[in-house]
């Protein structure tokens, strides 16, 4: 035991010697430097903000870019409060109370706090002039989001704004002053687009001037976010925006039925996402308080009665149930029809029509009778079969559910109205597009998406990517340049209608554009299917619907157009479809003279 004791004491002495040498190194060899660092200087910890991933359109054009900007940050523990509260708001045109609140809230935050983004040259000069007050303020160069196309497709692209206290508590990857995607694609793919901030340690002298990087610790560089490639064609959207110019409110949605890719997502009134980035509260409030609701993404969050655009689905179900066939006639249309004691009207006196013509001329009286013959129970079953109450699950957080009737019994008048798409049924335009994809894609409804692929992913994106791979939404591909790319996997589900029924409905929809209510959508050289609709609006003029589809070789496009408060779909919405189809399929269409050339 004596020997063991001796050895153990030697071992203990060795451990203590190691500790002693370390403290000796810190206190004697490094003592002078550390004393200075502790009392005359400080080490300042600053955030190196990570650039956000870029967003590209399907042609490779940049929709959301990252550039650099000068931002002003302050260190609450070091500031000269007179300067900060008296002069800073004047120089920078910011709200004193906001500033006061922010400084109070983040008093003990270990990093400088961002106060104003995108300083102009004049503002920087003014700040430099007041150099004597500069203690505790920092002008930082940070990445900045830029949307070169401004308002175009802003409902899809969305916007960023500042992280809230909640965000900071929920996710340690964020720092105060970081921007976070709130809406649109910026919001949905936040976890892909965001980068990871780095940290730098800087030695600062007693007056708060930064001297040099702290050499004892390595800087952690910022890691940029991943890049996203979308199915949107931004130039086509720019064109669509111009078509909506004459209307106060409206929307154009364009999708590829055989893939589910969203090509057009255009709407009015919209907003410029750039203005969210300057922390300019006045502009912000103006947008939120705007009565026209530009932040309201009508395509996925607005619900409208489908009107006559719903009729083809009634037909599908009636054919499926063998209640009618292609040649079925009902009592002729004399412009009005009596159900019980009420008179129901048609927009024209059509006479006796077969099924195809009833679709083509959108005869209400035909559909009142078909609806009553089908019965409420069957119509409700149709609504259920079509999954109308379910969301399309497009990659936008704003999507809401469509509204479906919640009754089981109803008077005949109500049933008749339901058959022409009026009443308690109200669809989001995106849902209507999904239903029509079922017709034009032979019963297969695609899962809608903006995302085509993701590139330049980093390890911290892994969780979100894995969750998408697990849901069978993404697959991993290695391209020729040995880059890892996450590609969208097209998914479909089937609606329960036989092919023959779908073919008959398609024939009717072709007749709509050839000779019926949708003649205004006709483009020479293209076979265009369509359906007009007029959504009754108790508050003003009716909303005009047009749903159109064209296909040529491997190109196909389904359009859903809605113009608020203008009148009938055939007169207003169908011509817009014509312009878009002739541009989209321009290589197949004989050039007309007055084609849009911008």
């Amino acid at each position: 035991m004596k020997r063991k004791f001796k050895n153990f004491i030697i071992f203990t002495s060795l451990l203590f010697l190691i500790l002693f040498s370390r403290v000796f190194y810190l206190q004697v060899l490094k003592g002078e430097r550390y004393e200075k660092l502790a009392y005359n200087q400080r080490i300042r910890k600053v955030i190196l903000r990570a650039p956000r991933g870029k967003i590209f359109d399907s042609k490779g054009l940049l929709i959301a870019d990252t550039k650099l900007s000068y931002n002003l940050s302050i260190l609450p523990q070091e500031i000269d409060t007179t300067f900060i509260f008296q002069y800073l708001p004047k120089i920078l045109n910011i709200d004193v109370n906001n500033l006061r609140e922010k400084i109070k809230e983040y008093k003990n935050y270990p990093y400088p706090i961002l106060i104003k983004r995108n300083l102009s040259k004049e503002e920087i000069i003014k700040l430099e002039e007041n150099l004597i007050f500069k203690q505790g303020i920092r002008i930082e160069i940070n990445p900045r989001r830029v949307y070169p196309f401004k308002n175009v497709s802003s409902w899809a692209i969305g916007y960023l704004n500042e992280t809230s206290k909640e965000d900071l508590n929920k996710d340690t990857l964020y720092n105060v002053g970081d921007l976070i995607g709130r809406y649109g694609i910026e919001g949905y793919y936040e976890k892909i687009l965001r980068g990871k901030n780095g940290i730098a340690l800087i030695e600062v002298d007693a007056r708060g001037k930064e001297i040099q990087p702290f050499s004892e610790a390595k800087e952690i560089p910022a890691i940029p976010g991943a890049d996203i490639y979308l199915s949107l064609d931004i130039n086509l959207n720019l064109f669509c925006d111009s078509l909506l110019n004459n209307y106060l409110a409206g929307l154009i949605l364009g999708v590829e039925p055989n893939t589910g890719r969203i090509i057009i997502f255009s709407g009015k009134p919209n907003f410029d996402p750039n203005i969210f980035l300057g922390l300019d509260y006045k502009e912000w409030e103006k947008l939120i308080k705007d009565k026209r609701k530009p932040l309201f993404s009508r395509i996925v969050a607005g619900v409208y009665p489908p009107g006559s655009t719903f009729k083809p689905f009634i037909v599908l179900h009636a054919l499926n149930k063998a209640i009618i066939d292609k040649k079925s006639h009902f009592s002729p249309c004399y412009g009005q029809y009596k159900i019980g004691k009420r008179i129901f009207k048609c927009w024209q006196s059509h006479g006796s029509l077969n099924l195809i013509d009833a679709i083509a001329y959108s005869c209400n009286i035909y559909f009142y009778q078909l609806g009553i013959k089908l019965g409420l129970k069957e119509i409700l079953k149709l609504i259920k079969d079509l999954n109308i109450s379910k969301k399309t699950d497009i990659d936008l957080l704003e999507e809401i559910n469509s509204r479906v009737p919640n009754y089981q019994t109803a008077p005949l008048g109500k049933v008749a109205n339901l058959a022409i798409g009026q009443g308690e049924l109200a669809l989001t335009p995106i849902k209507l597009a999904e239903l029509y994809c079922g017709i034009f894609n032979n019963g297969f409804i695609p899962h809608f998406h903006f995302l085509d692929s993701i590139k330049n992913t980093k390890f911290f994106h892994k969780d979100f990517l894995d969750s998408l791979i697990k849901k069978n939404i993404l697959k991993v591909v290695i391209n020729d340049n040995q880059e890892t790319i996450y590609q969208y996997l097209n998914n479909f589900y089937q609606i329960p209608f036989p092919q023959e029924a779908i073919e008959i409905v398609k024939e009717g929809l072709l007749a709509v554009v050839e000779k019926g209510t949708g003649r205004n959508a006709k483009v020479i050289g293209l076979k265009i299917y369509g359906k007009t609709g007029t959504a009754q609006n108790p508050f003003g003029k009716d909303h005009a619907w047009f749903v159109g589809y064209a296909q040529k070789e491997n190109k196909n496009l389904l359009l859903v157009i809605l113009l608020e408060n203008v009148g009938t779909g055939g007169a207003y919405a169908a011509p817009i479809a014509r312009e878009i189809f002739s541009r989209y399929f321009s290589e197949y269409v004989a050039q007309r003279e007055n084609n849009f050339n911008n």
Partner: protein, 388 residues
């Protein structure tokens, strides 16, 4: 009444007073007051520990051990903190792992000394290893890497005093080392060359190859498991096992602690100067990181005094092993001393920046009821043992 070990008691009291002074500087009157209360409770329990019949201590050591295992399980369910280390009572919190270290030493010492034949073989080692791994496993789940590893150290010290040579202990622990060195091929090859030399020294060829085979297996486990994990999974495991590490990857608190230590220089800072820890640069300045303030205030002179006091304390404790007493007592003294040695080395190493930040207290100095009271109980038990 105490015939032996007065010096041990005196050194402990000096250390506690140094702790009081430092706690006053970092935490103020409130923490000092509470620490004095803990001290008084500790003195009472120290008294009990001196007087308690050793027959009760050892004959019931299995139950003590079981009791602390139950506490370690309870803490996993009852603790409301993120790291499930403390049981919350109304006016103080209690850390079961501190008590578990003591009961573990008592039980293992009792167990090892009762085995007539104790050799480097499966029959001898199976149960002791099980007794060791059980608390380690429970504490790793909490998670508290620092405390969990202390059991490995204590076990090694007990094996050493039970008759194992340093080399045998090394070979026993070699799979763990192999796993750790497996992080990079170069470190592992160097380690493996050393191991070949050790494994074939004094051992049969068959035995040597066995050791190497087991080591190769554990060495391979590291690249196979760890390096196969994705970056974010690794990050998560590290964050789980060592939550004190800065989530952003830069150990800000460690850097600040080193600056505080360095700024003390040789003579320390005047007492009128507010310590850096008051500026919120250092987390837990009065508990785990108290050494930063201590060395800032007392300088290198103070650090030398502190290290000498600790050395003297350990020397005084371990010298009783050489006295002609029961093996059971010898092993218990060795184990209890090892608790101190581990805490001192890991805490000072962590604050001065040579070991990762784990969250262990500095014996007698750090603020904290469980820590101070269990330290005093250990002193009481040691005094009891050496006075038999």
């Amino acid at each position: 009444m105490l015939r032996k070990g007065k010096i041990i008691l005196i050194i402990s009291l000096i250390l506690i007073i140094l702790g009081f002074i430092t706690i006053y500087f970092t935490g103020g009157k409130y923490y000092l007051f509470r620490q004095i209360i803990f001290f008084l409770i500790g003195l009472f329990l120290l008294n009990l520990a001196i007087r308690i019949s050793l027959k009760v201590v050892f004959d019931l050591s299995g139950y003590w051990y079981l009791f602390s295992i139950i506490l370690l399980i309870l803490v996993l369910f009852l603790s409301k903190n993120n790291a499930k280390r403390w049981l919350d009572f109304y006016f103080f919190t209690f850390q079961p792992s501190e008590i578990a270290k003591i009961t573990y030493v008592l039980f293992l010492a009792y167990f090892l000394s009762n085995q007539k034949k104790f050799d480097f073989n499966f029959n001898s080692l199976f149960l002791p290893i099980l007794i060791t791994l059980l608390p380690i496993f429970l504490i790793l789940i909490e998670p508290d890497l620092g405390s969990a590893f202390s059991f490995l150290f204590i076990f090694a010290v007990l094996l050493y005093f039970r008759g194992f040579s340093f080399l045998k202990i090394f070979i026993l622990y070699s799979p763990l080392f192999s796993f750790i060195f497996g992080f990079s091929l170069l470190t592992w090859i160097i380690y493996f060359l050393v191991l070949i030399f050790i494994a074939f020294r004094k051992n049969t060829v068959f035995y040597g190859f066995g050791v190497l085979a087991i080591n190769s297996f554990f060495g391979l486990l590291n690249p196979l498991i760890w390096q196969h994990l994705k970056e974010y999974q690794k990050e998560r495991i590290i964050a789980f096992l060592a939550p004190y590490l800065d989530p952003k990857g830069m150990s800000w608190s460690a850097i600040q602690a080193q600056i505080a230590i360095g700024s003390g220089r040789i003579l320390g800072k005047s007492f009128s100067h507010p310590p850096l820890s008051r500026l919120d640069f250092i987390p837990n300045p009065h508990t785990d990181f108290i050494f930063a303030t201590y060395s800032e205030k007392f300088g290198l002179i103070g650090v030398i005094i502190l290290i000498l006091l600790y050395f003297l304390l350990l020397y005084q404790i371990y010298q009783y092993i050489t006295k002609n007493i029961d093996l059971k007592y010898q092993l218990t003294i060795a184990g209890l001393g090892a608790i101190f040695l581990y805490h001192i080395f890991v805490n000072l190493g962590m604050v001065s920046g040579i070991l990762p930040v784990t969250g262990l207290t500095l014996p007698f100095i750090s603020y904290g009821g469980t820590s101070l009271i269990s330290n005093l109980i250990i002193i009481g038990l040691i005094l009891n043992l050496i006075n038999q």
